[in-house]
């Protein structure tokens, strides 16, 4: 990990935020006292400012910054941001949490009780969301750091060995033994980075399955009984909670991580790349929201022939599939992750997809021996054993 990336934004802790906010506000204030125009700089979060270094393992921000200058046009935006910052800092101080929707109503309530604030009133949630995003850019933090949580989906986790210890805001500790939950999963929420993980017995690997349904089937068929592992369902593009959860498992348990999903451009680029290296939109927080060790277990192009899997052509009429292919071809040209030679194997799969315009779903493993419900598990375990992954 290079110094540039470990220092700066991503090493910022929640405890720093009130101090940092105060610093920024003081700077604004003293600029104003001198009738000097304050300028706020934020990291540019887009692919053209993304850097990938395989030693770091995830996408990090380049040098580009976005400057916001205080002027007549931005004074409203800044006033709203400072107003909401106060609300968020109050939450950080008291340990309160809110969703963006709740914050929208809290802001409306504040305006209702103080007529002087009337000009700030948000007409729609999209306006207060924009203000929250602007605060995060300004502080170069993520909203979870300001106790603004999304109702994260996905990440339902099964294991016979895993024990999760969570320190609650009141200091009490909650200990969850996943092996005692039966077929019910454990689902990480809010800030999984804060969890402490341990295991009853050594854990051999962690398997992340793209489809939550398939993850559930594997567990119901005894996957976690037969294997000392953690199995979780990603439910499509991984949410912040899923990404942070995978990162926590990787860092704290240091077990091999595998991803099992569809063979198509969307899965590879949007789901797997985000899980492994983060996204361009979240450049400043990929450190805590990516698991660089995760490997792509399949479906691999060679699996189609090897297991005689039913695959099918990308529908030219399906706008979403065509768009995914177009995006994949752009990614090969512009995305530093796919351009890195260490990820050549993944780039080759993308090229194969673009060339053959075919796709194959993870559930196709169920076609190999329809009478054997454990067949998909057998294939997965064979792949892990023989190290057939990218």
């Amino acid at each position: 990990m290079s110094k540039t990336h470990t220092s700066g934004v991503s090493s910022r802790t929640q405890q720093d935020l009130p101090t940092l906010s105060k610093e920024i506000c003081l700077r604004l204030l003293s600029d104003l006292e001198r009738a000097k125009r304050p300028i706020l700089y934020a990291t540019k979060c887009s692919l053209d400012n993304a850097v990938y270094n395989h030693k770091v393992g995830y996408l990090t921000p380049g040098e580009k910054k976005v400057a916001t200058e205080l002027n007549v046009s931005s004074v409203k935006k800044m006033s709203r941001a400072i107003f909401l910052l106060e609300v968020l800092l109050r939450n950080v101080d008291t340990g309160g949490v809110n969703t963006k929707r709740e914050l929208y109503y809290i802001a409306k309530g504040e305006v209702k009780h103080n007529s002087r604030l009337k000009p700030l009133d948000f007409e729609d949630q999209i306006e207060s969301d924009d203000s929250i995003d602007f605060i995060c850019e300004m502080l170069e933090c993520y909203r979870e750091d300001l106790n603004c949580f999304a109702n994260d989906r996905g990440g339902q986790t099964y294991s016979q060995q895993l024990i999760v210890t969570e320190t609650l805001p009141d200091g009490e500790k909650a200990v969850v033994e996943l092996g005692k939950l039966g077929t019910s999963p454990f689902q990480p929420k809010n800030r999984p980075q804060k969890f402490k993980l341990s295991s009853k017995k050594p854990i051999d690997f962690c398997l992340i399955v793209e489809s939550e349904g398939t993850a559930n089937t594997l567990v119901a068929n005894g996957f976690t009984k037969r294997n000392s592992c953690i199995l979780l369902g990603a439910q499509g593009v991984p949410s912040n909670a899923v990404r942070a959860w995978c990162k926590t498992i990787q860092d704290q348990l240091q077990v091999p991580m595998y991803f099992f999903g569809d063979l198509d451009a969307y899965t590879l680029q949007n789901i797997f790349r985000t899980l492994k290296a983060g996204s361009a939109a979240s450049l400043i927080r990929n450190q805590d929201y990516s698991a660089p060790d995760v490997k792509f277990l399949g479906v691999l192009p060679e699996d189609i022939a090897k297991y005689d899997l039913p695959d099918y052509a990308v529908k030219e009429s399906d706008a979403q599939e065509v768009r995914a292919l177009k995006k994949a071809s752009d990614a090969l040209k512009n995305d530093p992750f796919f351009q890195d030679k260490r990820n050549k194997g993944l780039a080759q799969i993308m090229n194969w997809l673009l060339k053959n315009k075919r796709r194959c779903e993870q559930q196709s493993f169920f076609s190999v021996n329809p009478k054997d419900p454990q067949m998909p598990e057998k294939i997965i375990m064979e792949k892990i054993r023989k190290q057939i992954f990218v």
Binding site: S21, K22, C25, L26, L28, L29, D31, L32, E33, R34, A35, K36, R37, L70, N71, V72, S73, V75, K76, M78, S79, I82, F83, L85, E86, L89, R116, L117, P119, L120
Partner: protein, 536 residues
């Protein structure tokens, strides 16, 4: 014998085909009747150099004889020269008995069909003709009578004739009772017609009395009676063969060479020489026109089409003028701002034509931002209110990119907003699509000429809109500073837990900072004002 057959068939033809001359619906019947009476009044006043003052009464008398109609009384009174007793039956009761037919002048009426058609409609629907009172300066008493059309013989017939005392030196009052339906608003509405007529006739004082409404007066804004230019002879390149032959009939026994030189504009000695060079024999040119046979006419016609002639003169077109239009447009209501433009007379399709445009934004319609602008079309100063989609004026409006001038405009459509756009096309030879004169034929050259006028008017208008944008910008900036400045500083003070002294200093600093921008906006506004000054 033959002439008798011709005239009787004219009146019969029109009485059976009134839909062709503006009586195709009950709404149109009212509007056309009013329009014909007003056109005649205005033409007569202008002819005799009288500043027109017209009063209109429209009343509902009860249900009409036709389904879904009212019995409507329309009366138009003018201060014109009056009509000689002998001419009264011809004017109101005889088709094609006009003094204006084919004269090549920019008068409103052209053929002498309209008012006789109104009389016929009244006769057909209420069994009474036109009730007329008229007095010329030389008459001691006024003539009061009813004129009816003798449809079989195309003759006006006078009934109930009497002479009465009338408290005016001259003038005409004509009254019709017809079946029709009243529509006041909208593009085909009476008010649109009345306002439009006022707009393009700045020298007109108009009083009108509509059902359930108070008497309204629109006072003249100009004492200048438009100079009606002298008629010009037709240009040979604008005629079809049939028209060419028919034109000769107006000249009786006259040598062909003299007919060509006298009966057409831009035909001179040089043209005659060119005709001879082109193969027209001298003996043909020496023949009397009434002795020319069809082959000779055709030869003459074709040869003259091949000879390059000067374009017709533009001196025959009548202009309203930017100044008068500017004054007149303010009569339409409270106007925010406006732009007027008179193009120089030019030649389109070998016919002299002048296009004038007035655009105004109405103050009291400021909320109607997403409906199409109101378009008022004029041909020879008469509002055109029907069948607008096929009209040259609307075609031209749709081709202009109004967005460039600050108006909203759906693609290839008329712009939107609380605007009135008046386009006047004046020409001694306007080509209409139909006899009821509702739509100007959209030839490429004419559409382009109208388009140019619209673009120039749009450019002028844009200056007003830009100025308004600057003013809004300034207002917005000042409002922003006043509203958000204190809130921003207060928030900063609370988060940093700073003193009241710092609050005051920061507020002052912020005001200085943002005030600079407001001053810049103010300077831009002044600049925009300067640009506008020559237009106001």
């Amino acid at each position: 014998m033959s002439s008798k057959i011709t005239t009787s068939s004219t009146a019969e033809y029109f009485s059976k085909n009134l839909q062709q001359v503006g009586f195709s619906s009950h709404v149109k019947a009212v509007l056309t009747t009013l329009k014909e009476a007003v056109d005649n009044a205005l033409d007569a006043c202008e002819e005799q150099r009288i500043l027109p003052e017209i009063e209109i009464w429209i009343q509902k008398l009860g249900p009409g004889s036709l389904k879904n109609t009212d019995r409507v009384k329309i009366r138009v009174l003018d201060n014109g020269p009056g009509i000689d007793s002998d001419d009264v039956p011809k004017v109101f009761g005889e088709y094609l008995a006009s003094s204006k037919f084919g004269r090549g002048r920019c008068s409103r009426g052209q053929q002498g069909i309209g008012i006789s058609a109104a009389t016929t409609w009244a006769q057909l629907t209420s069994a009474t003709g036109a009730r007329v009172i008229t007095k010329t300066k030389t008459m001691r008493k006024a003539l009061k009578c009813t004129v009816e059309v003798d449809i079989k013989n195309n003759k006006g017939v006078i009934k109930d004739r009497e002479t009465i005392d009338w408290d005016r030196t001259s003038g005409t009052s004509v009254e019709f009772e017809i079946d029709g339906r009243l529509q006041l608003n909208g593009e085909a509405g009476l008010l649109t017609y009345l306002n439009g007529t006022a707009l393009v006739n700045p020298h007109l004082t108009l009083h009108y009395n509509l059902p359930d409404e108070k008497r309204t007066t629109i006072v003249r804004v100009s004492d200048v009676i438009p100079e009606i230019p002298e008629a010009v002879e037709p240009h040979p390149h604008t005629m079809k063969l049939g028209e060419f032959i028919a034109h000769s009939h107006l000249y009786g026994r006259i040598k062909a060479e003299a007919w060509l030189k006298k009966g057409f504009s831009r035909v001179n000695e040089g043209t005659i020489k060119d005709l001879k060079k082109a193969g027209i024999k001298s003996q043909v040119l020496d023949k009397n026109v009434d002795a020319l046979n069809e082959v000779e006419f055709k030869d003459l016609y074709l040869k003259i089409q091949g000879i390059p002639l000067m374009a017709p003169a533009t001196k025959s077109v009548l202009s309203i003028g930017e100044e008068a239009l500017a004054k007149s447009i303010k009569r339409l209501g409270e106007v925010d701002f406006f732009s007027v433009l008179s193009r120089k007379p030019t030649i389109c399709d070998f016919k002299p034509v002048q296009v004038e445009v007035a655009i105004a934004r109405l103050f009291d319609k400021a909320n109607e931002s997403d409906s199409p602008i109101q378009i008022i079309r004029f041909a020879n100063r008469v509002p055109l209110q029907f069948d607008k989609s096929a009209c040259a004026i609307v075609s031209a409006i749709e081709t202009v990119n109004w967005r460039a001038y600050g108006l909203t405009q759906p693609k290839e459509s008329v712009p939107q907003g609380p605007y009135i756009l008046a386009v006047s096309v004046v020409s001694p030879f306007i080509k209409f699509k139909n006899a009821s004169k509702e739509t100007i034929d959209a030839s490429e050259e004419l559409v382009e000429e109208i388009r140019r006028a619209l673009i120039q008017a749009g450019q002028k208008l844009a200056k007003h809109i830009r100025r308004e944008d600057k003013a809004n910008d300034l207002e917005e900036k000042i409002r922003h500073i006043e509203q958000f400045g204190p809130i921003l500083v207060e928030g900063l003070i609370r988060i940093t837990k700073s003193s009241q002294a710092r609050k005051k200093a920061a507020e002052e600093g912020l005001m200085k900072l943002l005030g600079r921008e407001a001053r810049d906006a103010e300077a831009e506004l002044k600049e925009a004002d300067k640009a506008l000054k020559p237009l106001v």
